[in-house]
């Protein structure tokens, strides 16, 4: 029999820590701090709207780019929250989560051999998606001493004449780092001068603490070279609804729509109706959840401080990324032992790129009570290591 497989897909490593994930998901009695999704239920008015749409029999495809009403609400929301005016008719495509938008954006923009600058540590799916789109991922190792931000110096050092796209994964999973207006100002000129495009994954844009999220697309000259990716999963606790969107200049969005149209057809209809309610009536819910996350963030930082675990203060998403370098273990060894000895699951930093080595990701999408119990175990564990 001939080889049934595509060389390209075979060449992509299954996530290095898949094995670790499998062990954790088998351990039913473990306390997890490893989850990348909110612990809140989707606010009731959103669920109710989904149920109502089913009762009304709204069980058909929508138009490829998404419900007109939803695209208009998305446009109004982005303008109101982030000063991003998009034309709902041609510049917004509703996708199956932010994930599909990431995949489609790379596929729409990359030619074989084009280089994509990928700041790491960052979410696990950018790199394989770049490879699938025949691009060449070029990791940029972000540093704790820079607050895991992308600096002008790091950016300049990575650009070659093949560089086409810069991925901007902020607020960042797993570090929790954000890029403020001032931080972005530093790099915008470089991006324009070097004629780069940006794929800005802003899925955590509602979860920043102390300052509002600023989109890189809101800078003069950036909107026409940026695809903004956002969605409902994190801000409205809607992960299972699988709903996100991509926005950008029409010339790129037309091609993204083509991919979406042939690969997906349209995002789930029920989810789209529910999302209209999220955008129309969900501001208070977002605020409530943000407040709770912030309290947990404060709580974790205080506890780390008390146990002497060094951790840079994150101002976004719902993760902290403490350094475990003092223990002389790899992040995977640390996480495995913590799991075996104390039954607490965290994610090894190496999962998010080689520059994540020496760190672990701890999620605070958990109640204070759960965090308290888990952190007592973490403290016990590191005291024994010391």
């Amino acid at each position: 029999m001939r080889n049934p497989l595509s060389d390209k897909i075979v060449s992509i490593e299954p996530s290095g820590i898949r094995k670790f994930f499998d062990i954790v998901n088998e351990m039913k009695d473990a306390i997890s701090l490893g989850v990348g999704e909110p612990d809140f239920d989707t606010p009731w008015h959103i669920r109710e709207e989904g149920i109502y749409s089913l009762e009304r029999g709204r069980t058909f495809y929508t138009s490829n780019a998404g419900l007109k009403e939803l695209k208009e609400e998305i446009a109004a929301y982005l303008d109101r929250r982030f000063d991003l005016p998009y034309d709902p008719g041609h510049e917004i495509v509703v996708t199956i989560g932010g994930s599909e938008a990431i995949d489609a954006a790379f596929r729409a923009m990359l030619n074989p051999g084009d280089e994509v600058l990928l700041p790491q540590p960052s979410y696990v799916s950018y790199e394989p998606c770049i490879v699938l789109a025949d691009g060449v991922p070029v990791p940029i190792a972000l540093r704790e001493e820079d607050g895991f931000k992308l600096t002008k110096e790091l950016l300049l050092g990575a650009i070659t004449d093949k560089t086409k796209i810069l991925v901007m994964p902020f607020p960042n999973n797993p570090t929790g780092a954000i890029m403020t207006k001032e931080d972005l100002e530093e790099i915008v000129d470089v991006i324009i001068e070097k004629d780069l495009f940006v794929i800005s994954d802003e899925i955590y844009s509602e979860l920043t603490y102390g300052s509002n999220h600023v989109s890189i697309a809101s800078f003069p000259g950036m909107k026409e070279r940026t695809i903004v990716i956002n969605g409902f999963s994190k801000s409205y606790a809607m992960t299972g609804w699988r709903l996100g969107y991509a926005c950008g200049p029409r010339v790129i969005m037309d091609q993204i729509l083509k991919i979406h149209q042939y690969a997906i057809m349209c995002a789930p209809t029920t989810s789209q109706y529910a999302a209209v309610s999220a955008l129309k009536k969900g501001d208070a819910d977002v605020e409530r959840m943000r407040t709770a996350y912030n309290q947990r963030r404060n709580y974790l930082m205080r506890r780390f401080d008390k146990m002497g675990l060094q951790c840079f203060e994150p101002f976004g998403a719902f993760y902290v990324f403490p350094s475990i370098k003092e223990f002389g273990l790899t992040s995977e060894e640390f996480a495995t032992r913590l799991l075996q000895q104390e039954k607490v699951a965290v994610v090894p930093g190496i999962a998010f790129g080689t520059s994540g080595e020496g760190y672990v990701r701890i999620s605070y999408a958990y109640s204070i009570e759960d965090l308290k119990e888990a952190l007592e175990r973490v403290e016990h564990f590191i005291n024994r290591l010391r």
Binding site: N298, Y299, R302
Partner: protein
Amino acid sequence: MKKQILDAIQKNGRYSTEDLAAMLATDEETIKKEIKEMEDANVICGYPTLINWDQTDCELVTALIEVKVTPQRNMGFNKVAERIYRFEEVESVYLMSGGFDLTVVIQGKSMKEVARFVSEKLSTLESVNSTSTYFVLKKYKEHGLIMTDEKHESERMLITP
């Protein structure tokens, strides 16, 4: 800070001052001082426990009573309300707008006991003109907490990227 403390303890009165200090990124002394001030000012009036008596063996009935009263000269409704809320068995008393004046919530061991309260204690007050009593059949939610929810295991996967 006071508002933040109240928001945090409104649904969970069991946070320690140490936890509250960590959550609100301040020190324990500040929390203690703020809470003391709010207790003294009757902003925080107590720390009762929300109990779903339906889940216990204890028989307990709750009734909601609409009361029409004659306000007393110079005292308005407050004096009448006080004469009602001083009774041990009275859970809550609210002054209402609309078709009646006071809502009185009472808890008793049986319907008979509630009936006795209404007929012997409440309706005999001279400023009470009329009462309508409604018995609660089931409590679904109180204090912002759903009481009927079966505790379900979280269906989130233990670890996701």
